[in-house]
């Protein structure tokens, strides 16, 4: 029986799943570090407070990835798909594919009893987001010309 997780449960679940994908990808790049929290807040609707709480919570340190898979099996389908999309976005963020990433994605999808069509849909969404993030122009004003600078 699946029931919507509370905001704090969702935050814990998300950060565990996303961290594992980041590690499976071979390391912690700056883009992955930032993408994790950005997705949590923008797409999963987790508040800044809950994001901080999830990472400072002792319970997160005591949860294993097996616990994580077990809990993923109980989230509603729509939440599960959003988690899967975010996790794949993290996997795509460095534009490479590692065997452990493949395995972790497969384990998550299986834990959530996801079928191949749903999985593919999540991957397409993840790919689009990943491309957008790589393309996103910096909120930068034009550089200040050096010549003539001054008061």
């Amino acid at each position: 029986m699946s029931s919507a997780p509370s905001e704090n449960e969702l935050a814990t679940l998300w950060f565990l799943t996303a961290r594992a994908m980041s590690v499976a990808g071979g390391g912690l790049s700056a883009s992955r570090q930032g993408a994790g929290g950005l997705y949590a807040q923008a797409m999963l609707g987790i508040s800044e407070e809950a994001c901080i709480q999830a990472k400072s919570d002792e319970s997160m340190a005591s949860l294993t990835l097996l616990d994580c898979l077990a809990r993923l099996g109980h989230v509603p389908k729509d939440v599960g798909e959003r988690i899967m999309t975010g996790v794949m976005m993290i996997a795509y963020s460095d534009q490479t594919m590692q065997p452990l990433e493949v395995r972790w994605a497969s384990m998550i999808a299986s834990a959530m009893s996801m079928d191949v069509d749903d999985f593919q849909r999540c991957c397409v969404n993840a790919r689009v987001m990943s491309s957008m993030m790589a393309q996103a122009p910096d909120a930068e004003v034009p550089d200040v010309p050096e010549a003539g600078a001054g008061a």
Binding site: K55, Y92, M97, S106, F119, R127, S130, A134, E140, V144
Partner: protein, 282 residues
């Protein structure tokens, strides 16, 4: 500083242009905070260009934000320094575009620039044993009214709140906390992932198996490589994605092979044991 000396004298030997800009910023901090920010922004742009020329030469022509981002991703710019540089960049840009800068804000960024300069010298000049003196805020002009002091205090308070909010936002966005020793946590996850992989190889995944995931990921990666932001042509994108798929499949096959080999050895051992039992040897 009231005696005419500068907080940035230690920069002279390492980078005279940067030192000159720092002195100008120091000079303007009370009289013209906008110009102070303007000078500081140029100063960190020069710093970033020099760092980029050492670590990522093809980036020197990029805009400042991209350069800082790339340096941080490359590991050439630690996070605290990147934060300080971004703060100067943001406030400098605001000043350039006509947003008035209060003097306390300019003083904060000047302090940041001093902190950054010590790190910069140590990284640009190999083996430099520079120990900058503590930052001494340039003295305010005489005759500051109590109203002005009060406004300055309120601005300081506001700056503190903004700083705190920035830290919280940053903390909330990161996958791993700054104080978490990511190496230890990553090691733990890696061990767990490996263990789960062994279980998955033995038990299999019911619906979405690893081969299928690898295929889907390879197709998506091919599309990502073809995306304008990466700019590979169709043939190169396909070649690169296929290479990754082949590499991953090799590893997956090797795991499967190891598992089957281990299982065959166990079966063999069991058969031997059974035969010895039948012969009454055990």
């Amino acid at each position: 500083m009231s005696d005419g000396s500068s907080n940035f004298g230690f920069l002279d030997r390492c980078d005279p242009r940067v030192a000159h800009l720092a002195r100008q910023a120091e000079h303007y901090v009370h009289s013209d905070p906008d110009s102070c920010l303007f000078k500081l922004r140029l100063m960190i742009e020069l710093m970033a260009k020099r760092l980029a020329s050492m670590a990522l030469p093809n980036l020197v022509a990029a805009d400042l934000s991209s350069m800082l981002g790339a340096l941080e991703r490359d590991g050439a710019l630690p996070r605290p320094q990147a934060d300080g540089m971004h703060a100067i960049r943001r406030d400098g840009n605001a000043a350039v575009h006509g947003n008035p800068t209060p003097s306390p804000t300019a003083m904060r960024r000047l302090r940041d620039a001093h902190r950054l300069s010590g790190w910069y010298v140590r990284n640009v000049v190999r083996g430099a044993k520079v120990q900058p003196r503590d930052f001494v805020p340039p003295s305010a002009p005489a005759g500051t009214s109590s109203e002005e002091t009060e406004v300055h205090d309120r601005i300081e308070e506001l700056e503190d709140r903004i700083e705190l909010q920035r830290r919280r936002t940053r903390e909330s966005l990161l996958l791993f906390r700054d104080d978490e020793h990511p190496e230890g946590v990553q090691k733990r996850y890696r061990i767990e992932l490996k263990a789960l992989e062994m279980v998955a190889v033995a038990a299999g995944e019911p619906l979405v198996d690893a081969d299928f995931v690898a295929l889907v990921m390879a197709m998506d990666l091919e599309a990502i490589y073809e995306h304008p932001s990466f700019g590979l042509d169709t043939r190169d994108a396909r070649r690169r994605a296929e290479k990754q798929l082949a590499d991953v499949k090799d590893v997956l096959d090797s795991c499967e092979h190891d598992y089957l080999k281990e299982r065959a050895e166990l079966v063999k051992e069991m058969q031997l044991l059974k035969r010895r039992q039948l012969r009454g040897e055990v």
